[in-house]
């Protein structure tokens, strides 16, 4: 390993790597937020929908969970452009990750809602709350607490999956690193480096999740 050369090259490439990191964060945040939003509806449809809705949503989830994210990304990128939906690689990638995230969140939300005892809904009804109010004030807050740990897991999965966007040419952190490697041939050093950066990212997410969990835990 050539450490000083590595440091020089790292310094040279810092702007590109930072831009890549920025894209990774942007992709992850966008996909997780959109995916969660969509996933909550997926979970609701699975829990409260009628039979045809549940069946349709089940298909959606199973399809997304049965397909490798990598294939999903390639499919989103190429198929949509052929159909005439003109998405950039970035948008197509975020779309794929969003769908992937929504299928996970959907399952999590469904599980969490199912785990709340029926008595909670009945108690809420008996003091005259409507379904919407029951959901907003009684079910959702309880579900959220149960969802959080798994949701944090999903978020780290998405950060990891964001590397797959490099395949369709989105210059996120991994591709930015590969660009440096292709110029410098310092593959060992830079792959270790980028692995470490991802580790830190996910580690931070985990810690943040734990902190929030502690804060909102019910005594």
């Amino acid at each position: 390993m050539n450490f000083s050369l590595f440091l020089t090259e790292l310094w040279n490439a810092r702007m590109n790597l930072l831009a890549g990191l920025g894209d990774t964060v942007l992709i992850s945040v966008a996909s997780v937020l959109l995916g969660t939003f969509l996933g909550v509806f997926v979970g609701l449809a699975m829990t409260y929908g009628n039979k045809p809705t549940r069946f349709g949503v089940r298909l959606y989830i199973d399809f997304l969970r049965g397909t490798p994210v990598f294939v999903l990304i390639l499919a989103c990128f190429y198929i949509l452009s052929v159909v005439g939906l003109d998405l950039s690689a970035f948008q197509a990638g975020v779309l794929a990750l969003t769908m992937f995230c929504s299928s996970h969140v959907g399952e999590i939300v469904r599980g969490a809602l199912k785990a709340i005892p029926a008595g909670q809904t009945e108690a809420a009804k008996s003091i005259g709350l409507t379904f919407g109010q029951t959901f907003a004030y009684v079910l959702l807050p309880q579900a959220l607490r149960q969802i959080l740990p798994t949701w944090v897991n999903t978020a780290t999965e998405i950060v990891k999956a964001s590397t797959l966007l490099s395949i369709i040419g989105v210059v996120e952190l991994l591709l930015a690193t590969q660009q440096v490697i292709s110029r410098t041939y310092l593959s060992l050093e830079f792959y270790l480096f980028v692995g470490f950066v991802y580790f830190i990212l996910n580690f931070l997410i985990e810690q943040a999740g734990r902190a929030v969990e502690r804060r909102i835990s019910i005594p």
């Binding site: 090259e9 040279n12 490439a13 702007m15 590109n16 990128f77 190429y78 452009s81 052929v82 003109d86 950039s88 690689a89 490099s166 395949i167 369709i168 040419g169 210059v171 591709l175 590969q178 660009q179 440096v180 490697i181 292709s182 110029r183 041939y185 593959s187």
Partner: protein, 256 residues
């Protein structure tokens, strides 16, 4: 009828060029964080012809298998990304005239045991050739040096290391990569002077727009033989380290 791509590009004010970013000397991000390389220069040549300014380009960094889809779906105006011309691909997109002929070459240490290709060939089975691992690697080397020992390596740097340490007398690799390596390490290596396994590199455009294709062809052609020759030759020298001789003046060589 739709206006030609040429008009669209002119109206837009910049060219959208599809290329890669991880393969020097073709297209890569240099230490000044700019996309550079021979492919990139071909795009710049077209931009210069369009706007008189080689920098009026928006780059789309794409992976190898996005080359054709991005063209057909109009995500890029032009793709220059060391695209090997094959008949099958020519059914999907339209290739421009070639701007480089790739082949396999042999890299040797300066001042090694064998002077050039002829010496290597004469030495027969005494010669060891390092090559990047590949199903056809042995076959390919034997096409040039039928008796040579073939050592297959897993990565480019290992292959070069084999050469440096004298474990191999020559390394067989793409001529472009070989030349780039010589550019990066001036004075240490030389080319054995034999190339084989030819293939053409061309830019590609979306099929069905003859006007645009013609325009790009003209630009490339004049880069290699006409007014823009200095631009092309300069780029060639930068990436492949070789000084091109000036095209013959007088009767155009292509009609000979």
């Amino acid at each position: 009828q739709e206006a030609s791509k040429l008009q669209q590009v002119l109206d837009r004010g910049h060219l959208i060029l599809g290329t890669g970013s991880t393969n020097p000397p073709w297209h890569f991000i240099d230490s000044d964080n700019k996309l550079k390389g021979f492919d990139v220069d071909m795009g710049r040549l077209v931009a210069k012809a369009l706007f008189g300014d080689p920098d009026k380009i928006e780059y789309v960094q794409q992976s190898g298998d996005a080359r054709i889809p991005n063209l057909v779906t109009d995500k890029v105006d032009l793709t220059c990304q060391f695209m090997t011309v094959t008949a099958e691909r020519a059914q999907q997109i339209e290739f421009t005239i070639p701007y480089y002929r790739e082949g396999v070459g042999l890299l040797q240490m300066e001042g090694g045991d064998y002077a050039d290709y002829e010496a290597l060939k004469a030495a027969g089975s005494d010669v060891t050739v390092a090559v990047l691992q590949n199903v056809y690697a042995e076959e390919m080397v034997h096409a040039a040096l039928p008796e040579a020992e073939v050592d297959q390596y897993d990565s480019v740097d290992l292959m070069y290391q084999a050469l440096n340490s004298g474990r191999a007398d020559a390394a067989a690799t793409d001529q472009s990569a070989l030349r780039w390596f010589m550019v990066k390490n001036p004075g240490r290596y030389h080319d054995a002077g034999y190339g084989w396994n030819p293939q053409s590199y061309s830019c590609g455009v979306k099929p069905g727009d003859q006007r645009w294709l013609n325009f790009v062809n003209t630009v490339l052609h004049e880069g290699m033989t006409g007014v823009e020759f200095p631009f092309y030759a300069d780029s060639f020298k930068t990436w492949f380290g070789t000084e091109l001789s000036v095209p013959q003046i007088g009767f155009p060589v292509e009609y000979k």
